[in-house]
């Protein structure tokens, strides 16, 4: 990090137990902590928590928007790498603010690398619960 980051406007999301359960089903993760409030409480959480990669749901729109603004053909974009740092759980029934930063575009056509960071913040405490970084491979031709 340490590079200058252009940011997109913050977007607020409500996280529902249903979308957490659907995400857990789609990734084959059987943990009851995603699906059952009692199990989540027994594990020390206030309600169901989200799987580690759940915030992709919140980030997809940002990546698309940044790619469009850079004149990238979204349908040719490949995912190069992805990193998540989890500082606190994302919990069902709460709201979160997601803010994306365009860190930079590197390389030259026909293949460029677009780096995006996203912070997920708990608006009640102002604390970041998850930081993530994506590198997208932007191709000009198939």
């Amino acid at each position: 990090m340490g590079e200058e980051r252009k940011s997109l406007p913050t977007v607020r999301f409500s996280v529902t137990p249903e979308e957490i359960a659907a995400f857990a089903d789609a990734i084959g993760d059987p943990s009851p902590v995603y699906r059952d409030e009692e199990a989540a409480r027994a594990a020390g959480y206030e309600a169901q928590i989200a799987p580690p990669t759940f915030s992709m749901r919140m980030q997809m729109g940002f990546a698309h928007e940044i790619a469009d603004a850079e004149g990238v053909d979204w349908e040719l974009v490949l995912h190069g790498d992805q990193e998540f740092e989890q500082l606190a759980p994302i919990v069902a029934g709460r709201e979160y603010d997601a803010r994306a930063f365009e860190v930079g575009m590197r390389g030259r056509p026909p293949t460029r690398f677009l780096a995006i960071e996203t912070d997920i913040t708990d608006p009640e405490t102002g604390e970041v619960v998850q930081r993530s970084r994506s590198t997208l491979i932007c191709r000009d031709e198939a």
């Binding site: 979308e19 659907a22 995400f23 089903d25 789609a26 990734i27 084959g28 993760d29 059987p30 943990s31 009851p32 902590v33 995603y34 199990a39 594990a43 020390g44 959480y45 928590i49 799987p51 580690p52 990669t53 992709m56 749901r57 997809m60 729109g61 979204w74 349908e75 040719l76 974009v77 490949l78 995912h79 190069g80 790498d81 992805q82 990193e83 998540f84 740092e85 989890q86 500082l87 759980p89 198939a142």
Partner: protein, 141 residues
């Protein structure tokens, strides 16, 4: 499920492998759950126009399964403090995806484990690395 204890872990310990034969329906379900509905993942013709033989799975679909392998090992999804994956090959319908990992370091001060994680794909007897040189960190009990 309870969180795995620091004392029960040793460097070199392997995660239980997570195996799955990937179907088009699995990829479509992930597209809905993640809101990544890029036609590359849903429409064979669109994928062929973009240089592939047919639809490919999302990189994040692969990463999410190695995360599942990790959360199962940790005993608590909230124990995962860091995860980083580099995507090196696409997973396609019919592939058997195998996610695994092993413990590379332990810090008694923080009671955290560092792991190396990977996903390989078995495609008719030949193996490809879909996720490699990737890492995770888990807060143990």
């Amino acid at each position: 499920m309870t969180r795995r204890s620091f004392e029960s872990v040793a460097v070199g310990q392997a995660l239980t492998e997570y195996r799955k034969v990937v179907t088009r329906e699995d990829i479509a379900a992930y597209a809905e759950a993640s809101l990544d509905r890029n036609p590359l993942h849903l429409d064979d013709e669109a994928a062929r126009a973009r240089g592939f033989d047919g639809i490919i799975g999302h990189g994040m679909f692969t990463m999410a399964h190695v995360a599942t392998c990790l959360t199962e090992w940790a005993g608590d999804p909230g124990a995962i403090t860091h995860i980083k994956a580099a995507f090196r090959a696409a997973v396609v319908p019919g592939d058997e995806m195998v996610a695994g990992g092993s413990v590379t370091a332990l810090d008694p001060k923080t009671r955290r484990a560092k792991l190396e994680i990977w996903v390989t794909v078995d495609r008719g007897g030949s193996e490809e690395q879909a996720v490699r040189r990737s890492t995770a960190e888990v807060q143990l009990a």
